[in-house]
Amino acid sequence: MEKLLNKNSFDSLITGLKKQGYKTIAPKKDNKLVTLEEIQDANEISLDHVITNNSIKEFFFPKTEKILSYTIEKNKVEMEEPEGFAVKSVIFGSRPCDAFSLPVMDKVFNWDCSDKFWVERREAITIVTVACDKCDSYCFCTSVGLAPDAKQGSDVLLTKISNDEYLVETVTEKGENLVKELESVFSDPPSGTPDRQVATVEKKFEIDKVKPWLDDNFQHNVWDEFSYKCIGCGACTFVCPTCHCFDIVDECTMTKGDRVKNWDGCQFTMFTMHTSGHNPRSTQGMRWRQRIMHKFKYYVEKFDSTLCVGCGRCSRVCPADMNISEMLEIIATEENQPVSKE
């Protein structure tokens, strides 16, 4: 289904969503950041950025989340599972790369067991994506098989066709239902071929060339050399829409507690530290290699999908200017491929 949405109708769109019982999450500008967060009013929406600082991940897999509460008495332990975590919502104005991260992550969160926190939120949340009309030098979606107007993962895709108008295309049944629920907000699509304002994202490397090199080069001096500057923080993994490692901790007293799931990241020294004190990934080079291998080799082998959507957030926030697409470019360009000294 195709429709037209005028910027003037944002107000009635947000009011309509509220009436239908949806919580609305949209990009909002605050000082230097543009973040996806809950909004109450259409005036809060900001759409003139390249990409939001936070990824869509936190609405499905929050940075911290209680998965269980318990009380311990003399002869029994009582457990209580949280409820009401999946709230009917619309994420309005996410980018195609973020939307695509969802089907990629579905694979792991439904792999050997189905993660109800992820799955129930996936059902409760509808994704209305706005295609990118601009990009920056960190964007590389086109190198990982996506596009600035890709539809995968979105329920509805909006594409700018003039300063005030967006072409509305429904992608899934869920999206179609949403548009039907709010029918009066939309108007008929323009006749003829609209002028889609979509960014041109330069292709930086051939993804097909990456995995064969990784297959052969687990041992390679480039891992250390590239990562001397890495300071071992978790910024890249936490802003990444597809990094999904977590840690489980109990926050408790002697008699009661909460079991909590928190984001964790492979760039931390402690991530692989054994109780014995041995650390199988003892250097930052090994940890950097893990990040690349997981995204472009292991996940591909296991789930037939690259664990990277080319959003470029990791490189934008990196305190030491580590740049993931630069590494992949080196790997994928045969004549540039580093020669192993091993």
Binding site: L33, S137, Y228, K229, I231, V249, A320, D321
Partner: protein, 281 residues
């Protein structure tokens, strides 16, 4: 100045005075530089110097990977050089193990970093060799040096509390602030100690408050105000306000500025009988 820097680096490597030069190289965009580690004299052309050289490279003195490269020459601006002084005083490095290659600097960052607005160390106060035209270090009055706190200090206690609650709510516990900090050098950080669990690892209000406050307090009287923690925070928490406030209180109460004079005794780890706090006697 770039040529002078490269020439000096080349000399140091050729003469085997050092094994590696920690410096600034071209970044992934024209508005960025990145740390580079030059081990061969023929690679010195990778070194650069411009207003985007914001990093405090002394942080690589704490990392085992870069330490393993051998004795470094490290390029430091006046502010970064203060870290060298603290690391020496806190017995983290030996003077002979580091070659301090000072550069004179009239400000970095675009827009200009806050620390540069009241800079009184344009020429480093410690170095083995200096590159660049020597700049006479100004004397800047106390109030002017802490001017960035003016607005913050006007807030009431409740307003301050609300301000920090809002700021810390954004924290994602990526620990970029402590990872980048050259003075956060504990082998095992307090957040990684879980018997007992001093600090909740969760990024919820309690966990975020205890982490951010503890980080700041562990730097009280030590932070040299390089502002790296604030620069790297991916969620834009104005961490430097905390550090600066603690530095101001330290200077007011103990007449001590961290990293400023190599002969000054450390504020937080020096015992003095005339200490005016009762619990000390």
């Amino acid at each position: 100045m770039i040529e002078e820097l490269r020439k000096k680096a080349e000399e140091l490597l050729r003469s085997d005075t050092v094994k590696v030069v920690f410096g600034y190289g071209e970044g992934s965009t024209p508005e960025r530089t990145r740390p580079v580690f030059i081990t061969k004299p023929e690679d010195v052309n990778k070194l650069t110097w411009n207003k985007y050289c914001v990093y405090n490279l002394t942080t690589y003195l704490k990392r085992q990977e870069t330490r393993k490269l051998g004795k470094p020459a490290i390029i430091v601006k006046g502010c970064d050089a203060k870290t060298i002084i603290v690391l020496l005083k806190e017995c983290q490095i030996k003077r002979e193990d580091v070659y301090v290659l000072g550069v004179t600097c009239d400000g970095v960052g675009e827009p200009l970093a806050t620390k540069c607005k009241a800079c009184d160390v344009n020429t480093p106060r410690i170095y083995d060799d200096l590159v660049g035209e020597k700049i006479e270090n100004k004397e800047i009055p106390f109030d002017e040096r802490y001017a960035e706190l003016d607005e913050y200090e006007k807030l009431s206690e409740k307003e301050k509390w609300d301000f920090w609650q809002k700021q810390f709510a954004k924290c994602i516990k990526c620990y970029a602030c402590s990872s980048i900090c050259p003075l956060c050098f504990c082998d095992r950080c307090i957040v990684d100690k879980n018997q007992p669990q001093w600090i909740d690892p969760s990024a919820h209000p309690r966990g975020n408050l205890s982490w951010n406050v503890t980080r700041a307090y562990h730097l009280a009287g030590r932070c040299i105000n390089c502002e790296e923690c604030q620069r790297v925070c991916p969620v834009d928490i104005p961490l430097n306000l905390l550090n600066k406030k603690l530095a101001k209180e330290t200077e007011k109460n103990f007449k001590y500025r961290s990293g400023y004079n190599i002969d000054d005794e450390l504020a937080m780890s020096t015992y003095k009988e005339e200490d005016n706090q009762d619990f000390f006697k």
